[in-house]
Amino acid sequence: MSDSEVRQKVRDFLLKYVKDDELEDDDNIFELGYVNSLFAMQLVLFVEKDFGIAVGRDDLDFRNFNSVDAIVALIGKSGAKA
């Protein structure tokens, strides 16, 4: 999967949950301070299932998930092939 495909897939996923049609790739999706733990879990499972990677305890940091850019970087770092 190319970088732009990864990015598009992440955006498509987030737009199902984030009430913002103008989501920028560096927007902090958790900036209001409240993170719905259900959404957090769905986000982690999305990254693992759709990109075939395992997110370890050290990487389960909200900063790795707080924007499109951060999630794409995490997937890139984990060497996703799927």
């Binding site: 958790f30 301070g33 409240y34 719905n36 733990s37 879990m41 940091d61 909200f62």
Partner: protein, 350 residues
């Protein structure tokens, strides 16, 4: 903590799955529409229901005809997620465990056919299989005797029935999840545990595995002592929404050290799994700790089933400061903003 494994295993069944032909009623419905209830069935259904044990069905029958007969006999309402079809029963059992969202090892299956009992036993060795001939003794079986029967136990079936209506509303709702959660008009209450809460609190520590940060269990006296201790805070949470109450669904134990509050246990019933309320108690403690001028820390003990709670802490701004095998100590970052979600009204009773 002090009880033996055998005692814990004692009342472990949360749902009894019933066969119909020659188990619930005498006769075979497909052959004779005039079947009659077996003696003792209604009494057993009612008694177990009061104990907070759920009922379901795994029967090879025509769904509509069997449902109509159950309604005519006045017992249809007892059964959650009845599986009335011509598939294999081990599959039906699995579907029931998933629909209710409980471990398959908490199911009992009662049938008159040795073949069906063997098939289920073979596929799911953890399911308690009971021969229908044992019906007269059913309510006396230790596996069907919960150690405590609380107000929440007797409400359990209603809680699940309310939830079926919620889920159907959720499935037909189009739009972002938070927008759906707003339609529920949820009210989350945080209160210090009082004596009336303790039996339910013990039950929560024993029954809750997925949304449980450390898996610590306590008996009644231990919790009573912690409730009164100056060095501890014991909180109970409840949740209600427009469909009804979820009952007492959360328990949190905090140890007050000189420079930090440590969350030793935080759990939420799986009833509220998809309600987006998992972080509220943590946010409340974060606000209180900040106001008191102490750090907020949390113990975590990893199990194969509680990853969601680890994610909850980490996404809530906690960092690991110590780790030893499955155990770790997390600490809330100082700069992390705290806020309650907009879709829940939070009430603090202190």
């Amino acid at each position: 903590m002090s009880e033996s494994v055998a005692e814990v295993a004692g009342g472990h069944v949360k749902c009894v799955v019933w066969d119909l032909d020659n188990t619930v009623w005498d006769g075979i419905l497909l052959e004779d529409s005039d079947v009659t209830l077996r003696p003792g069935v209604v009494e057993a259904l009612r008694e177990l229901d009061c104990r907070g044990i759920l009922h379901s069905i795994a029967s090879r029958n025509e769904h509509e005809a069997a449902s109509a007969k159950l309604a005519e006999l006045g017992i249809l309402d007892y059964f959650l997620f009845p599986q009335i079809n011509f598939g294999i029963k081990s599959q039906s059992i699995k579907a029931i465990a998933e629909a209710i969202n409980i471990g398959i090892d908490t199911l009992a299956f009662i049938d008159d056919q040795p073949f069906e009992l063997d098939e289920v036993r073979h596929a799911h060795p953890a399911v308690t299989c009971i021969d229908a001939a044992e019906l007269p003794e059913l309510v006396n079986m230790p596996c069907l005797k919960p150690r405590f029967i609380t107000e929440d136990s007797a409400l359990r079936r209603k809680l699940y029935q309310d939830n079926i209506r919620r889920v159907s509303a959720e499935e037909s709702f189009e739009g972002p999840q938070e927008a759906f959660l707003e339609t529920l008009e949820m009210r989350f209450t945080i209160a210090r545990a009082n004596e009336d809460d303790l039996q339910r609190a013990v039950e929560l520590t024993e029954r809750t595995h997925q949304l449980n940060t450390t898996g610590k269990t306590f008996d009644y006296d231990e919790l009573d002592a912690l409730r009164k201790s100056d060095r501890h805070m014991l909180f109970v949470n409840s949740l209600e929404d427009r469909y009804g109450t979820y009952g007492k669904i959360g328990l949190t134990l905090v140890e007050k050290k000189d420079d930090a509050w440590v969350i030793c246990l935080l759990l939420m019933s799986c009833r509220v799994m998809s309600r987006g309320v998992g972080m509220i108690m943590i946010q409340h403690l974060a606000q209180q700790a900040r106001a008191t001028g102490v750090k907020l820390q949390a113990e975590f003990v990893e199990t194969p089933r509680n990853r969601m709670m680890y994610v909850t802490y980490r996404f809530g701004g906690f960092e690991e400061v110590a780790r030893d095998g499955d155990w770790s100590l997390l600490q809330l970052s100082e700069d992390r903003p705290v806020a309650f979600p907009e879709y829940v009204k939070v009430t603090v009773d202190e």
